[in-house]
Amino acid sequence: MNDAPPWRGPLLLVIGVTAVWQVLYLLVGEIALRSPAETVASLAGLLADPRFWPHLRETTLAFGFALLLAAASGLLIGITLGVNRFARDVAEPMLVAIYSIPKVTLYPILLLAFGLGISAKVAFGAIHGFIPIALFTMNAVRTIRPVLIKTGRIMKLSPPALMWRILLPAALPEIFTGLRIGFSLTLIGTLLGEMFASQRGLGFMLMNAIGLHHVDIIMSITLLVTVFAVTVSLLLIHLDRKLPR
């Protein structure tokens, strides 16, 4: 059974989801859904339309910046709190408390601060992703086995070398899990930002399509985002499992 090719699981998943989708479509009908075949055709049409690409570019850019910001700040804060017990005791309850705030309630404040442009979306995406990345990184650094750090000291590693050669590689598997979760949440944040107040992007298109009841566009964009998120997530899970622990 272990000889199954690595693509068998994802393939079965795709077949299963498509089958459920087709059944739902047959039950619900044209009013709320399109069939898998129609959606794929509609997405192909959307991709061929030059008016679609600025929206895709806007979302990609906003998401890329948001993820970069979330990862950089999350890693920096996580490592700082991981190595400094006092800072961790002070900041951890605050981070957990902030994480539990429904972030959508902060969006009006972000809009006032950043305006309707790309910056508000980037900030909204980043605040979704950075806290889990920071918490996972902090935990990863905090739980590194002391004997590994002692070994580094015995080998006379300088503090930067200790960081690069021992702390980071030892914490990497858990940091990677945080990045994986941060990726999904940043994507959600960016799209939500576009849906509530924006003039471009996939979230904006989705909101417009909902208002105009363009089921084709709703389904096409949903499929596109789902394929992107699932593909990247599967890739990250695959890499995560390959890391030696």
Binding site: R145, V147, L148, K150, T151, R153, I154, M155, K156, L157, A161, R165, I166, P169, A170, L172, L243, P244, R245
Partner: protein, 275 residues
């Protein structure tokens, strides 16, 4: 008798070494963990320390390794004081698995060497020799998770030995291994000790291990750990695990236990009357 063994010259000196951990926070008392301890280790000597749990054995090793500072007294290695910084020429093997899981066996063994100014060719040659010496042939490219506990500990020993330390500190290095593996690893350790001529300071909870491996054995009291007695084993340098058949081996182990029984009962809160 050839090979190492005590060569007269003092290599490590402990004078009045005391360690007190200050109580952190209100109402928490200070903990007097160790000392005062006076001890001289001769160059090339194999010295073992036994003592009840929590008597400060590992703290003593950390003082020698420069990982902990003394509260009072002085510790010197090759005439230079050890002041909370790892001295040159000191290697440590811990009880816990200290292999880096993200590196292969060869990368683990060469880890410390790559921090030195040795040319890459020399690093590779030393790693290759260490892999062969420690019986890890065929596993150079394996990750620690693919090895048994004994093999992982051999990787850690090799990683220390390739640096050619003049003082090797071992903190219960075979504690997690089964009895047969421990005896065989002990033999390997004796062989490496003879080859390198290094001074070895071994902490162990296994009396038979101390009795088999060491030239001298220090028996520590319950906390605060002090040296109650130092027992000379009188073994030849070219010994191996077969000395456990000698009648003297039983006598040494019994003597160690006589001292330790009372101290271990103190740790358990039963006093010496329970004897």
């Amino acid at each position: 008798m050839h090979g190492p063994g005590r060569q007269g010259e003092t290599h490590v000196r402990l004078e009045g070494v005391t360690k007190v951990f200050r109580g952190l926070g209100r109402g928490r008392p200070d903990v007097h963990a160790l000392g005062p301890i006076d001890l001289d280790l001769a160059k090339g000597e194999f010295f073992a320390v036994v003592g009840p749990s929590g008597c400060g054995k590992s703290t003593l090793l950390e003082v020698l390794a420069g990982l902990a500072t003394v509260t009072e007294g002085t510790a010197t290695f090759e005439g230079r004081p050890i002041k909370g910084e790892v001295p040159d020429g000191v290697g440590v093997v811990f009880q816990e698995d200290a292999c880096f899981p993200w590196l292969t066996v060869a990368e683990n063994i060469g880890f410390g060497l790559r921090e030195t100014s040795l040319p890459a060719g020399e690093v590779e040659a030393r790693v290759r020799r260490a892999v062969a010496t420690m019986g890890l042939d065929g596993f150079a490219g394996a990750y620690p998770s693919q090895l048994s506990g004994g093999m992982r500990q051999r990787v850690c020993i090799a990683r220390t030995l390739v640096l050619q330390p003049r003082l090797i500190l071992l903190d219960e290095p075979f504690g997690a291994l089964d009895q047969q593996t421990r005896l065989l690893m002990g033999e390997e350790l004796l062989k490496l000790w003879r080859e390198t001529g290094a001074t070895v300071f071994l902490i162990t909870h296994a009396l038979d291990e101390a009795a088999m491996l060491a030239d001298r054995i220090g028996v520590m009291s319950a906390r605060p750990g002090r040296l109650l007695e130092i027992i000379e084993t009188g073994w030849p340098a070219d010994r191996d695990s077969r000395i456990i058949e000698e009648s003297a081996f039983g006598a040494i182990t019994a003597k160690l236990w006589r001292h330790l029984r009372a101290e271990s009962l103190k740790v358990l809160g039963k006093g010496t009357d329970a004897a």
